[in-house]
Symmetry: C2
Subunit: 364 residues, 2 copies
């Protein structure tokens, strides 16, 4: 078992990574001073696979357990389903010392974290991420949120979990497409912070795709370490943390314009990373051969690297303007300078983004 | 102008109390590093009285101002109206550096604070309370929230304002009944913390009720000082802060059972204070003559001091069990030991509460 500490003063917590460790979670909750009444929030797909194992472990540790399920899919990550969670928690009299366990992917983690942060002015929650994307990204760092029809994650809070509990064995039941989408975020950590991780992904592609336990544990651990380091230095994204959004300014806009239907989050980020690397080279911040290395690694994992031809550039632009990272209409881009290092850049105007998007459309 | 500092490290802020100071608010926002796009949240009643004055001041300071109104009343303090605020903010592209100005009473302050704490993972907000209750209590300390059909303020966050701006002149347009309800909370500060304030309320009743500026400023300032002191020591109510709930365990239950229709919040708290003082004397923590002093001050301000005869005691008990302050079913009471000092007490069982409620029913 690997353990990483996220250092955030009185909000510090551990990320535990291991193989076949789900059955151990109950015992690990005992030290948190929780009320006996706690709840698991999950979706039917994940719950049918791992619900019994986690529930048994939690009950065996002496807790009285409520199960709340939410339908499977990003389209259910909204206030209506948050309301459903509140209703269940209140009906079953969960109190201020109760905790929620988020068992599932990013949707479950985000919505459960949001419910925990707003139920009775904030209760504890535990992340048990079962997708690669959630394991390397959304379960760590305390960003919670739900979608609004005008944008992704527009409603949310910063609320740190008490524990993140990652079992790599859960990836065996993850659809291949979702595994690849999660790898897009791992590539991101390589580009923004760690050339060695970037190289590891190139060299160990076959091992990773065949779910070799050690290779998976390595990339998950390294991703969590980088995220923990960044979040410890800037919890509320007032500075450094924004580098984690490399690929996301464009990626979020693509997701919004395609109504979250065409791409998984990681796939949209993959396109975003390639486009933003190209933008960086247009601004002469990075050599074009490095842009090609990024694009080539993305493509080697079967991830999309280009904006689809049928997308309306004006929609992308107007969606970007509403991005949470935009302040007073000015967009912030994270631009790579080499593999392993990025800069935060505000000087991109609409014309240059248009040029970037049109150039790509023209090439096809 | 009086200024009180709420000390909360990087979340510290000022409470400013003055007469005829609404027109000065715009200039005081300039130092906060806000985006030019900000919003006022208010209700039609308050906005028709003070909206123009505040709007003009804010616009004159260079801000682009959106107005969002919510119908007047506690029954609108719910997630549906929070959703309306989100919709408006997103439609008008308010960003992460935008701020909300809560212009109104406790309902407006609570719902605006909640919206601010959850919009784009938290934006700034300014409290401009226009009722006595909000000025001495809800606008200070960062408790935000909305009601759920199963209980008051069940959904909420801790999210501190950047500034609290109190103009005592607004009390001139406040209905007498609401002024009195606000005074219940001032009496509360006297009982839990400050016998001098308690005595001041007894001696200066006529001045206060005739809205003498100096008397009002004194009691508001003293109440805010006490609240600031308590909140600075215990922001998230893990200990001391719970003393501010004196009268509220019973008060909230009364409000819930009467569906928020029979009593204003302060009126229910007035009854709660009298009942909980009596409970304290049943437990021999306080002399009965002090219980009578409390009851007598409450009644001298025309506030209710007894549970209505037609209320079902069983409903009160089951509502108390769902109180946020109850942990694993155990209720916490704040019990006065003398005027100016309380203890936090967990050892009250249901039988004793029943006895307290029945005894009162019998006396009538």
């Amino acid at each position: 078992m690997e353990k990483i500490r996220v250092e955030l003063a009185e909000r510090s917590y551990d990320i535990v990574i291991g193989s076949d460790i789900l059955r151990g979670i109950g015992d690990n909750l005992k030290s948190f001073g929780l009320s006996p009444r706690i709840a698991i929030v999950s979706n039917p797909t994940v719950f049918s696979l791992y619900g019994k194992c986690v529930s048994d472990s939690v009950k065996k540790a002496g807790f009285d357990l409520l199960t709340v399920t939410i339908p499977d899919g990003e389209e259910y990550k909204d206030l209506l389903w948050v309301q459903h969670i509140y209703d269940e928690l209140l009906k079953h009299k969960l109190d201020r010392s109760s905790a929620l366990i988020a068992l599932g992917g990013g949707v479950i983690g985000d919505i459960t974290g949001f419910a925990a942060s707003t139920y009775m002015r904030g209760i504890s929650y535990i992340q048990v991420p079962t997708t690669l994307l959630a394991q390397v990204d959304s379960s760590v760092g305390g960003k919670t949120g739900v979608n609004h029809k005008l944008g992704k994650n527009m409603i949310g809070t910063f609320w740190q979990p008490r524990l993140v509990w990652i079992d790599v064995e859960t990836l065996k039941t993850l659809p291949k497409k979702e595994l690849l989408a999660g790898l897009a975020e791992v590539i991101k950590y390589g580009v923004i912070w760690d050339e060695k991780l970037f190289d590891f992904l190139g060299v160990n592609k076959n091992k990773i795709l065949s779910l070799d336990r050690d290779a998976l544990t390595h990339i998950i651990k390294r991703s969590c370490e980088i995220k923990a380091e960044v979040v410890s230095r800037d919890e509320r994204e007032s500075g450094l943390r924004v580098i984690l959004n490399y690929g996301h300014t464009t990626g979020h806009a693509i997701e919004t314009v395609t109504e979250y239907k065409k791409y998984l989050h990681g796939e949209a980020v993959a396109i975003g990373m390639c486009l933003e690397a190209r933008l960086s080279s247009m601004l002469t911040f990075i050599d074009n051969n490095k842009v090609l290395r990024i694009k080539s690694l993305v493509e080697s994992y079967g991830l999309p690297s280009e904006m689809p031809a049928d997308i309306d550039i004006r929609h992308i632009l107007s969606s970007m303007e509403l991005d949470k990272k935009a302040v007073a209409g000015e967009l912030k881009f994270i631009l790579p300078e080499k593999i392993g290092s990025v800069r935060i850049y505000r000087g991109v105007d609409n014309k240059m983004i248009k040029k970037l998007l049109q150039e790509q459309a023209f090439e096809k």
